[in-house]
């Protein structure tokens, strides 16, 4: 990843590595089909990408587990190797790059200077704000400083993973580091959110490729996610949906329903509220996805999914006690305490009412003794 490589066109890079145009076209076709674009879009992508200079990409990692990058390395359409060796110039990624320390930082600064206003910034991980940003530092700078510096010259920012998009696990209650997502911090640049824990590799690679091929931010949903990948819920596209519609549910992981592949809604599946492409693109080169393997969807591409209650509590189940636990005793405590207070207030109200009636009766009796009937009666009324 030297500077001389980064100024080559994509076609040059392909020629140098002996990759035929046919192979490149095939790769673009696969990427286009993953994005549900027409076959014509695949050839348009190949044409556009071929003649452009390999765009510079800077990949920053903050509060994350490297799962997103692990996932990206399993991309098959396009493969990560194809993406970083042929389509883009990955100028900085502290996990993948050979350089380290001052050399790595120098490479990043060089890329930012040379491609100011043109490079795409990929961010992985949440940004901690607490303690002046001291919870994450690199090269003597906090994550906030690093992100703001890099975002200044970026053409667009792609936030990958639920940590970078919505804060993810670091943001989970009680969020000790004050972690937030990129779009909560950067408001003056287009931010494309590619959420998931981790995101589907093809979705990450496809989003980056789409941006370069069509030279624009793809259509986004209200959470800034590309609609082409996040337009439907898992439930909408789930092959177990007919069982949901027929009211056939697995009640436990080892019952007849589970063995028959019935709907996992009662076992806590968050498919109905989760927008992602797992049910269509699947994982591991289209082998399967969690529901196909018999496990409910966790809803990992939605904001605050860690705080959404137990992974195994059905969607309508109330959240009584601690996050994630449908706790009957907590409901009982609430009901009991409220009923106790209600009974106390009722007792006091009835007592007060009786006392007033008693006082009125005394007054009425006294008035009657004094021969003043009318006064007592009017008060009684």
């Amino acid at each position: 990843m030297t500077r001389s490589e980064s100024v080559q066109t994509v076609n040059d890079a392909l020629d140098r590595q002996g990759i035929s145009r046919r192979t490149f076209l095939k790769s673009c076709m696969l990427a286009a089909s993953a994005m549900a674009l027409s076959p014509l879009a695949g050839s348009a992508m190949a044409k556009q990408l071929g003649k452009m200079k390999r765009p510079s990409v800077i990949y920053l990692s903050f509060q994350e587990c490297t799962g997103c990058l692990e996932s990206l390395t399993r991309s098959f359409s396009p493969t990560l190797e194809h993406l970083i060796f042929n389509v883009i110039s990955l100028d900085y990624d502290d996990t993948l790059m050979a350089a380290a320390g001052h050399q790595a930082e120098a490479a990043k600064e060089q890329a930012m200077r040379d491609n100011y206003g043109k490079y795409v910034l990929v961010v992985d991980g949440a940004i901690p704000l607490a303690f002046g940003g001291a919870c994450h530092t690199a090269a003597g700078k906090s994550a906030i400083q690093i992100l703001k510096e890099a975002a200044k010259g970026a053409r667009a920012i792609v936030a990958v993973g639920t940590c970078a998009t919505f804060g993810g696990l670091p943001h989970a209650n009680p969020n000790p580091t004050g972690a937030i997502g990129v779009s909560d911090l950067i408001k003056d640049k287009p931010v494309i959110n590619v959420s998931g824990c981790p995101p589907i590799p093809v979705v990450m690679a496809g989003t980056i490729m789409h941006f370069f091929a069509f030279d624009k931010v793809p259509e986004l949903d209200e959470l800034h996610r590309p609609k082409m990948f996040y337009g439907n819920t898992i439930h909408d596209r789930c092959y177990r949906r007919p069982f949901y519609d027929a009211g056939k549910f697995a009640e436990s992981f080892d019952d007849e329903g589970a063995r028959n592949g019935w709907c996992l809604y009662k076992l806590g599946c968050k498919g109905p509220t989760t927008y992602n492409s797992c049910a269509t693109l699947k994982w591991n080169q289209g082998v399967s996805f969690p529901i196909e393997s018999g496990h409910p969807c966790l809803g990992c591409s939605q904001p605050n999914f860690w705080d959404g209650g137990s992974f195994y509590a059905a969607l309508p189940t109330p959240k009584w006690g601690k996050a994630g636990e449908g706790n009957p005793s907590k409901a009982g405590e609430i009901a009991g305490a409220a009923a106790g207070i209600g009974a106390g207030v009722g007792l006091a109200a009835a007592g007060l009412s009786r006392y007033r009636q008693y006082r009125r009766a005394i007054k009425a009796a006294a008035a009657a003794e004094n021969g003043d009937d009318s006064d007592g009666q009017s008060k009684e009324e």
């Binding site: 309508p316 189940t317 609430i334 009923a339 009412s353």
Partner: protein, 245 residues
């Protein structure tokens, strides 16, 4: 925190607290209020009066076989009416009130079936009581829900169409109807994945249920708790005075 988390978290807790507070507050207050002294003797003793209270709640009225000659079909119909006839109008009023009574009964039954035997509702009730039970098949619950919703609208039309009922109705009647209907409509929409993203519609369904819980003790929905005591008191007083119960 998203809307669904609010609906099934803090909003539900608050609604539940208001519900139980309001119910006990009203019931305790009413039961402990001073009652008028009964100046007459109990015709059949105090035990007899209490038996009247229990009978009015737990027994059915016998069919009135007023006519001497009856066909077997008429007798069967009478017997059917006799089951629960204590909650059915007297024969002279049946013709006039049949439509309203039928609608009322049917939508109450529909509500009960959907609440008790709908699969997602069983999960909610299980989180309260710790036990669950088998659900009715989803298509059956869907049909019952649609019919119940239609009956709720029929009940509203009847109320609006009758000058007397319209005159007797106030904000409480319409508001209580609106909340019940809202809970039903949003539930059906969530089930059918209509009207927007599922989590939003589900959140509105649960929020409307939260509102129903919070409103319950303070409006006419409280009839669910007042019905039985009211009838017991009526039965007690009637029996005390020697009237047949």
């Amino acid at each position: 925190m998203d809307l669904l988390s609010i609906a099934r978290g803090p909003a539900l807790k608050a609604a539940l607290a208001i519900f139980f507070f309001g119910i006990t507050w009203r019931l305790v207050t009413i039961f402990l209020l001073r009652h008028n002294w009964q100046l007459s003797f109990a015709r059949e003793g105090r035990a007899g009066a209490w038996s009247g209270a229990l009978k009015s709640v737990f027994t059915f009225r016998r069919p009135r076989l007023s006519r001497a000659r009856r066909s077997s079909m008429e007798a069967t119909a009478d017997a059917a009416v006799a089951v629960g006839s204590r909650s059915w109008p007297h024969p002279p009023f049946v013709r006039r009130t049949l439509y309203g009574e039928t609608i009322g009964y049917l939508y109450h039954i529909g509500l009960a079936l959907v609440v008790i035997f709908g699969a997602p509702h069983i999960l909610v009730l299980k989180s309260f009581f710790g036990v669950g039970w088998p659900a009715l098949p989803t298509p059956i619950i869907t049909i019952i829900s649609v019919l119940t919703l239609a009956l709720l609208f029929a009940a509203l039309m009847r109320r609006l169409g009758s000058p007397v009922l319209r005159h007797l109705s106030n904000f409480d009647d319409y508001f209580s109807w609106s909340i019940v209907t809202l809970v039903f409509a949003t539930g059906l929409m969530a089930h059918g994945h209509l009207g927007g993203p599922y989590q939003d519609v589900l959140a509105w369904h649960i929020l409307s249920f939260d509102l129903l819980l919070a409103w319950f003790p303070f409006g006419k929905l409280m009839h669910a708790f007042f019905l039985t005591p009211s009838r017991a008191i009526a039965g007690y007083l009637l029996k005390r005075r020697g009237a047949p119960v």
